[in-house]
Symmetry: C2
Subunit: 223 residues, 2 copies
């Protein structure tokens, strides 16, 4: 996706960030297969020609959404590791960053479940990034066990449980729902880390809103 | 799906259970859209005509796989609630039953992620069953909070985290992998319940096999 600073429509710059956020939203509404580049251009308020300047085709958008999600995930680890904090706090920071970033920058993006639509080359790249992410997660869990902060367990299995909880969020999350991304990120990260921690905190983030996480069923509507 | 006791091929009865287990395995290998009824008949060692006696079309198999998964899930709750046990133990039993059953009876079945391929009528039925399952899960979490066994939290959000971890299993689980279904079920249930428990156990099921949960990547291969 090429960058063009001057690319503006309706006063809003057509950045990669905005294209992917809007693509995520439209994919969620219509499903990946039910979405055309026309739909995305319309939602962005630009012509399809303007969109083509930035992106080759729909599959490239899918790839970019996946890549952005994994970039956000790795960024979470880098941030966490840059802090002189114990492993439980680092893991909490890393997961919260990933969840909030995915929700904010990709609007949840059910589309992340649709790896099958990627070209083989893009698929390989995403699998490589995903493997890196998984390795970082397992390493952090293993480090916490070694440090005596986490209970002994299989970092691979617990890592899969954590990733499942996180990657399932797009199935029920809705940007317009009653739970802000940050609240979900904090609640998830605290719960997922607590299951590992030897001496866990006496509580979890309380439900600040009674209607927190109302299901707005993107998976049902987009079917 | 009609039953026919006499329907035997190669000495093995063509039961609903066997049809769904084999369908799950083939769907995992080829993806739902890449699978034909011919493929499933061949994997079952029967003619397509014999298969048609039991199932109308491929979509019905998808629906039955979903329904079976949710039936197993509800069965887990019924079993758990029939035991005079504290809420943490009940939740552990319910989740372990669901996970092990899904893995054993549906071979993981990535296909459960493909709700979008269901007909509207089947989709409504699955959403209704899924809502029942989610309600039962939240009720059990809320009951544990009331009983003072679980830390205060938002049962809806934590419920989504648990369901995500569980429903993601088909993305990495492989029946021929090195972790038996029961081991995964126990590890997951213990970890997921531990995050909620006020006074959690000092450990989690230890990795009994170093190579536990080797990724055999059904999602990558079936793409």
């Amino acid at each position: 996706m090429r960058k063009r600073k001057a690319a503006q429509r309706g006063g809003r710059e057509l950045t990669r960030e905005r294209i992917l956020a809007v693509s995520g939203r439209v994919f969620n509404q219509r499903g990946y297969h039910g979405t055309t580049l026309d739909d995305i251009a319309r939602a962005l308020g630009v012509t399809k020609a303007a969109l083509y300047y930035h992106v080759k085709n729909k599959e490239e958008l899918l790839f970019q959404c996946h890549q952005l999600a994994l970039d956000i995930g790795m960024e979470g680890f880098h941030r966490a590791l840059a802090q002189p904090a114990p492993p439980d706090e680092q893991l909490r920071v890393a997961l919260a960053h990933y969840i909030e970033g995915m929700a904010d920058q990709l609007k949840g993006t059910v589309v992340l479940l649709e790896q099958g639509a990627l070209t083989p080359r893009h698929h390989r790249r995403i699998v490589r990034s995903r493997d890196e992410y998984e390795q970082a997660l397992r390493k952090m869990i293993a480090g916490g066990i070694t440090a005596g902060v986490f209970v002994p367990c299989d970092p691979k299995l617990v890592g899969f449980a954590i990733l499942g909880a996180v990657h399932w969020i797009p199935k029920w999350y809705h940007p317009a729902g009653s739970s802000p991304a940050r609240e979900i990120a904090e609640a998830f990260a605290a719960y997922l880390v607590r299951g590992l921690t030897k001496q866990p905190s006496p509580d979890l983030p309380a439900p600040r809103r009674a209607a927190a996480a109302e299901r707005t069923i993107p998976d049902d509507d987009s079917a």
